[in-house]
Structure formats: structure tokens, C-alpha cells
């Protein structure tokens, strides 16, 4: 199948999925920290995160990726050589994951912020008043309920992100897109390979939508939907 290049494409798929999952983890961490900072009392923290989310959302992902890949490398080596170290080559995989995670962290920040704001304030006040610590409030009251409000935005971000992983081939990462390009060049059958890649992406997004809508149902048990009649 696929002129014998199927195993190579599948290997590339695994790289793409690794990039997606690792960047998602980083994006969630950035998102949670960002949301916490945006809702905090510290003015400095709010300003820093505002600059972060505004800047990221004003520039294309591809341009940001090139910027972080080349710029991050230059900055790192500037610092390292200043400290007397040797030149370091940042692997494309690390650069790709960090960039996508950093970019989508900005989108996650907005999603999580909205989700936290959707929880009635009285609940947190009530929890504090019965003597829970702030960490306990977060762990027992805020986070479990936040998930339900965050899922639609989270699903959206994840779908955009999984599609954005196709861009990492441009900074030289050996992902599915790269493999398809190499196979296309070797066999002169580009249509077959790019159609296969499109089908694989469509399968990933379809499975994601199905799974996440089940998760949403699970977390929305006990919430009565508005009925339109």
C-alpha cells in the first residue's frame, strides 16, 4: 500500500502525534498559569500575560514557529557562549513542541480564564468560609467544575493545534508531512501521499471530536440543559 511507503508514513504519524500530545501538555500548563495570572491580584502578572496573549494572537503560527526556532536558537547560544559553553543545536523536535505549546498556551489561557469565570463566585467563597485552604478550593471546587466549561474551547484549540502540527515539517521536523514529501519526491506520486495524510488527519480530528464530546457528557452529568420548545 502507498507504493511500500506506508510504514514510513506511519512512523511519521507517530512523530506528529508525539508533537501534538507534548505540545498540548505544555499549552495546558501555560494556559493554567496564564489564566491564574490573569485572574490574580498582581498587576504585573496580569500585564505580562496580557502582552503574551495579545502578541501571540496577532502573529501567524508559522511566523512564530520560525521566530522561536531560529530566534530561540540564537538567543540560547548567545547566552551559552557568553557563559563560556559550546554551541548547542536545538533539535527541531524540541523547538517544534516548545513553539506550538507556547503559541497554543495563549489560546488555552483565554479558554481556561473564561471557564474559571463561569463558576459562581459564591462557591469559592463558601469553600473558603468552611476553612478550606486556597489549594483545596482549587483542587476540590474550581478545577473539577472548570473542566466542563473549558471543554468546548479546549476541543476547538486541540483541533486547531493538531492541524498546526503539519507546519513543523517546515522547520525540518521528520513528521508525517515530511515523510509524505520525501515519498512523493521518490515515487513522483504526490497526490497519493498527500491524500493519505489528509485522510489520516481527518481520522484524528473525527476521533477527537467523538471522544471529547463523550468527556463533555460525562462532566455535564447533573447539569440540566436548556430546552427549546
Amino acid at each position: 500500500m502507498l507504493h511500500g511507503y506506508l510504514p514510513a508514513i506511519v512512523e511519521g504519524l507517530l512523530t506528529s502525534l508525539q508533537v501534538a500530545v507534548l505540545s498540548l501538555a505544555i499549552a495546558c500548563i501555560f494556559g493554567l498559569v496564564g489564566a491564574a495570572a490573569k485572574l490574580s491580584n498582581s498587576r504585573a502578572a496580569r500585564v505580562v500575560v496580557d502582552v503574551y496573549t495579545t502578541l501571540i494572537r496577532g502573529i501567524p503560527e508559522l511566523a512564530l514557529m520560525l521566530m522561536v526556532f531560529y530566534g530561540g536558537q540564537a538567543l540560547l547560544n548567545y547566552l551559552v557562549t557568553k557563559a563560556g559553553g559550546d554551541y548547542i543545536e536545538v533539535p527541531a523536535f524540541t523547538a517544534g513542541v516548545l513553539t506550538i505549546g507556547f503559541v497554543f498556551g495563549a489560546y488555552m489561557t483565554e479558554t481556561f480564564r473564561g471557564a474559571i469565570l463561569a463558576i459562581p463566585k459564591g462557591q469559592m467563597e463558601a469553600a473558603l468560609s468552611v476553612g478550606m485552604s486556597r489549594i483545596q478550593v482549587l483542587q476540590r471546587i474550581t478545577l473539577p467544575q472548570m473542566v466542563r466549561h473549558a471543554i468546548p474551547g479546549f476541543t476547538n484549540n486541540w483541533l486547531i493545534m493538531i492541524k498546526a502540527t503539519a507546519l513543523v515539517s517546515i522547520i525540518g521536523l521528520d513528521d508525517m508531512m515530511q515523510r509524505a514529501g520525501l515519498a512523493a519526491a521518490a515515487t513522483r506520486q504526490p497526490l497519493d501521499f498527500y491524500l493519505a495524510v489528509a485522510a489520516i488527519y481527518l481520522a484524528i480530528t473525527t476521533v477527537s471530536i467523538l471522544l471529547l464530546s463523550r468527556v463533555e457528557k460525562r462532566f455535564s452529568l447533573g447539569v440540566r440543559k436548556a430546552e427549546f420548545k
Binding site: 502573529i59 508559522l62 520560525l66 531560529y70 530566534g71 515539517s169 514529501g181 480530528t205
Partner: protein, 241 residues
């Protein structure tokens, strides 16, 4: 640390890149808007053979990366013999045409869903009232459904337009010299990271916020009736005169 001479020397290139980016954006959005209105009407139709194909089209396009779609058109179609031997090949071998086609197909899918969503949000009473006056369904769409649905779609459409502007950066992968390609070339020629990517970031940033500003103005004009009316003072002032 910043070598301003590199920035100054490459500014003309950045401006010609800006022209390419803007032109790509304009033709893609215009085509997308033109196609998505009839497609959205088909998408909400109760006729199966009208609604389902449009659903399939938006589902497939929205479920796959734009980069893959562009590569299928630019690299993939060259493999198909009847395209290569037809008159259309003169178009398909042009990167410009392929980018325009891919972007238009992509933004049409998203815009169709946005407008379809806005159509579905029409209050039932409006349709009933129009029908009770004996309006034909063509007039119903022309006078009632589309004018208010397109207005309702405006805020979401502004997101799509900004997203599309960002997506034009992908054109740099098929030999088009847009803003992103210029930045990569400047970086390659001068090895000046901050100068190359910092400048392009400023360009995109200004572009994003100009676009958002234009849509704010559009919303102020077409969604005027939805803004909260905080004070009735002007009306009284007019009467007092």
C-alpha cells in the same frame, strides 16, 4: 544589538511581501464570502441532497490542515494526467492560482458554517410573520433571513478573517514571496534573527489590529441596533432644540 541597517535595507522587500499577503487575503476572502452565502443556504436546507454534500465538504475541509490542502492542489494535481493535459494546467502550474484556490476552498468551508449557524439562530416568529404576509421563499431569504444572519455572523466572521490573514503565511511554502517568505529570505541573507522576524512580527501585528479595527467599524454600522442604549440624552436634546 539590533542592526537597523538590515531592517532599513530590507524594508522595500517587506512592503512588496505585504502587498502579496494583502492581495492573497483579499481575493481569498472575497471568493469565500461570495460562495459561502449560497452554500450556507443549502447547508440549512431541509432537502437532504442539498444539505448533506455541503456538510461533507465543510467537515472534510475543516478536519484537515490547510498546508495539506495546498500541497494536494499544488503538488498533487500535477500527478493527474487529464489535468496536466487540459487547458486548466496553465492555471494549476501557477503557485498564485493554487494558493488562491486552496485558501478560497478553506475559508469558504469555515464561513459557510458561520453563516449557517447565524441562519439557524433566526427567531422562528420572523419566518412565520414573513410567510403569513405571503412572501416567497426567495424573498424570505433576501429580505428577512440573510440581512439579519449576515449581521449576526459579523463578530465570528472577523475571527475567520484574521485567521485567514495568518493562514496566508502558508503561501510562503509554495514559492510565493509573501511577508513570511521575505522574513525567511532576510534571515538567510543576513543571519539577522531579530531584525528579520521582529520586523515581520510588527507587520503582522499591525495588520491584525487594523483588520480588527475595520471589523469594529463594520459592527458599529451594521450591529448598531444591538448596542446597549445607555443614555437617552441626545434624543431629548433634539426635542429641546
Amino acid at each position: 544589538m539590533i542592526d537597523w541597517s538590515v531592517v532599513v535595507v530590507s524594508l522595500p522587500d517587506f512592503f512588496s511581501g505585504l502587498k502579496v499577503t494583502l492581495l492573497l487575503l483579499a481575493i481569498s476572502l472575497a471568493t469565500g464570502l461570495l460562495l459561502s452565502v449560497p452554500l450556507a443556504v443549502a447547508r440549512v436546507s431541509s432537502i437532504f441532497w442539498l444539505a448533506k454534500p455541503v456538510w461533507l465538504y465543510t467537515y472534510v475541509i475543516r478536519g484537515t490542515p490547510l498546508l495539506v490542502q495546498l500541497f494536494i492542489i499544488y503538488y498533487g494535481f500535477a500527478q493527474v494526467e487529464f489535468i496536466r493535459e487540459s487547458a486548466a494546467w496553465n492555471l494549476f502550474k501557477e503557485a498564485w492560482f493554487c494558493a488562491w484556490l486552496a485558501f478560497a476552498i478553506n475559508t469558504t468551508a469555515y464561513t459557510t458554517e458561520i453563516i449557517a449557524g447565524a441562519l439557524r439562530a433566526t427567531p422562528h416568529g420572523e419566518i412565520e410573520a414573513a410567510k403569513s404576509l405571503g412572501m416567497s421563499s426567495f424573498n424570505l431569504y433576501r429580505r428577512i433571513l440573510l440581512p439579519s444572519a449576515l449581521r449576526r455572523a459579523l463578530p465570528q466572521y472577523s475571527n475567520e478573517a484574521v485567521g485567514m490573514m495568518h493562514a496566508t503565511a502558508i503561501a510562503s511554502t509554495v514559492t510565493l514571496v509573501d511577508l513570511t517568505r521575505v522574513a525567511r529570505d532576510v534571515y538567510a541573507n543576513h543571519l539577522a534573527t531579530v531584525e528579520a522576524f521582529g520586523t515581520v512580527a510588527v507587520f503582522y501585528f499591525v495588520l491584525t489590529f487594523t483588520l480588527i479595527g475595520v471589523f469594529r467599524l463594520a459592527e458599529r454600522r451594521w450591529l448598531k441596533h444591538l448596542r446597549p442604549q445607555t443614555d437617552a440624552a441626545p434624543a431629548i436634546a433634539v426635542i429641546a432644540k
